[in-house]
Symmetry: C2
Subunit: 340 residues, 2 copies
DNA sequence: TGAAATATCCAAAGCGCTTTGAAAAGAATT
DNA sequence: AATTCTTTTCAAAGCGCTTTGGATATTTCA
């Protein structure tokens, strides 16, 4: 069933049917009702391709998924973020288009998407220092918003968590419990959020005149395995830390495993504060949090990103919208006073 | 840059340019080379919408994500599956279209996608008993393949793991270690795979003349929390089991937490065999598996589903392609002889 | 009642591509 | 050299929609 057929059935021109469907005022309420009823009856829906071609808007938002760096992106974070974002798009009639690439051709993918006219806007994930994607998207004039921040320029739209502040808080929380030697287990240090978390951690220590010990600061892929291995290393030190700030729930699972195998009780012999993205699948407890954490819902971030992007699509030449979310400190059972 | 502009630049008709680009034989190699060079130079890519409209093929595969049932779908499994599938599509020039819906209108969403002409085929996830989606898609004539199986009819394309066999193996492994009382912690019992796993488990017990005790069989959402709670319940029984077969890694993390808090050593005091989807993000160990598991890569399943779907799109009226994958039993450190 | 204003509708063009059917050019055959 | 057969190219139609500009019907006002 297409427009032509529907208008034939109704004995009305395509123009009028189209207008009736799209809510234009120059059509009487009587015929509009007729049209709407017929459309529903015959289950008519406008062909999106034809619509896109005629209007010049594709009504699609693009996501680019890098394939090679599996751990960083292809993770539960992505799913939750996407769910939040897509949900928001949907309300405005936008669809979601996924494009996979290897890391090298990622920027190229944005260029292609634009050339092919398949999206009206895109979201940039996991920005790095001076991320080239930002430059390219600006050059193309394709609306975009960054989830996170790309250190370097600052004139673009983004939604980010205040990572620095979150990790200052996390570290302070442990310091207040009397911990003096606190490790950091963090994400890959090319990524902006990891850099900021490193900063927050060191900042908090400096503020209490505690020397930074780089041998208990770790940056890598945020896997369970890395959390596990790192914790074993830490415990094997001659002067092991009594606590750690850990950048994700997945890492923390590895930390807990290592502690368990070493016979240490979490929250008693060793304290852990994590950053909790509040993933719907991997919840940090239900009513009661398990790990003490700085929590910030990634799904909510997805919703905000989407909202901003839709706004930017509507009105492209507006000043940068920059949203900073504050993580909330929640206390679980993974922290306790420093052992004496 | 569009076809018209490009052909103007070249001084060649649109027809010839289009043919040159699409590899048709009725164009000389000389002009083809010219066209290709110019296209690359001006970064020309055909507008997908126009192409789709002209050809009647959208070159898009649809995924429907139910929103309300967060745990079951919006999880790492989905990400990995999608990555595998999308990777395969991409090789054939297909894009991925994501549609979110609440659970109730899920079938409706497939209908809409088809009416709007936005996809050439779809994948059905997490089938239930006599899943209505299968019926609808057949009625629409929209190519589809099911990931998993929808008990009931059997004349459709699917890719599935041999869940029954996997759980027979898992249970037997524990039985061989001398465990007599083995719990089952499994997914929601409306889902086909959970039903089959239940069958496999009971089958193995029956084969050894062990009575089925429904009070140590659990079906629900496969969350860490459910794993944790269930294990605490099991340990509180007057006659607690000495082992469990667990349907996912996430569940098993909860099981391990409960064991740890109860002072039980996993693989010594209590054995656990899991089903491991080999997720790229949540790996069950690296070189050495942590949990003893029946492993079957969900990403691989995604690739296979995609391959089948592309094949079906090309040749819609073929006999059902039905792929059954066998899970591989891998031995980790979560299992040991039954305590005496 | 007639002119002006307004409300309703429609025919046709155009979005950027593919593809048919025909024409032009070149090669092969007599 | 004239004819036939291939190869190469092109003009134009069509995919299903939106939208412009104009036509027709209806209402309003003098």
């Amino acid at each position: 069933m297409n427009l032509k057929q529907l208008s034939n059935i109704l004995g009305i021109s395509q123009t009028t049917v189209s207008r009736a469907l799209n809510g234009y005022p120059e059509v009487s309420e009587k015929t509009r009702a007729l049209v709407l009823a017929a459309a529903k009856k015959h289950n008519y829906m406008p062909n999106t391709k034809a619509q896109a071609l005629a209007t010049g808007k594709s009504k699609m938002i693009g996501f680019v998924l890098p394939l090679s760096s599996q751990h960083e992106i292809l993770n539960p974070i992505f799913g939750d973020f996407l769910a939040g974002a897509a949900q928001t798009y949907k309300q405005e009639g936008y669809d979601t288009n996924l494009a996979l690439t290897d890391n090298e051709t990622q920027a190229e993918t944005y260029r292609d998407m634009h050339a092919k006219g398949s999206v009206d806007g895109v979201i940039v994930q996991a920005p790095r220092e001076n991320d080239e994607r930002v430059a390219i998207l600006k050059e193309l004039g394709l609306p975009f918003v960054v989830h996170g921040r790309a250190t370097g320029s600052n004139d673009y739209h983004y939604v980010d968590v205040n990572n620095t502040h979150a990790f200052i808080n996390a570290t302070n929380f442990l310091l207040d419990l009397g911990h003096k030697r606190i490790a950091l287990i963090n994400g890959n240090e090319e990524l902006d959020f990891a850099i900021r978390r490193n900063h927050g951690y060191t900042q908090a220590l400096k503020d209490r005149d505690i020397d930074i010990d780089h041998s208990i600061m770790f940056n890598s892929e945020m896997t369970e395995h890395f959390g596990y291995e790192t914790t074993l290393k830490l415990l094997a030190l001659e002067n092991p830390p009594t606590a750690a700030v850990v950048s994700s729930y997945a890492l923390a699972i590895g930390v807990r495993r290592a502690l368990g195998e070493s016979g240490l009780r979490i929250g008693k012999d060793f304290s852990v504060v994590i950053h909790d993205d509040d993933l719907s699948y991997l919840r940090n407890g239900e009513a009661q949090p398990v790990f003490t954490a700085t929590r910030s819902s990634i799904r909510h971030a997805g919703q905000l990103c989407a909202k901003v992007l839709l706004d930017v699509i509507k009105n492209p030449s507006q000043p940068p919208q920059q949203v900073i979310l504050e993580a909330q400190l929640i206390v679980g059972s993974s922290t306790g006073p420093a052992p004496t």
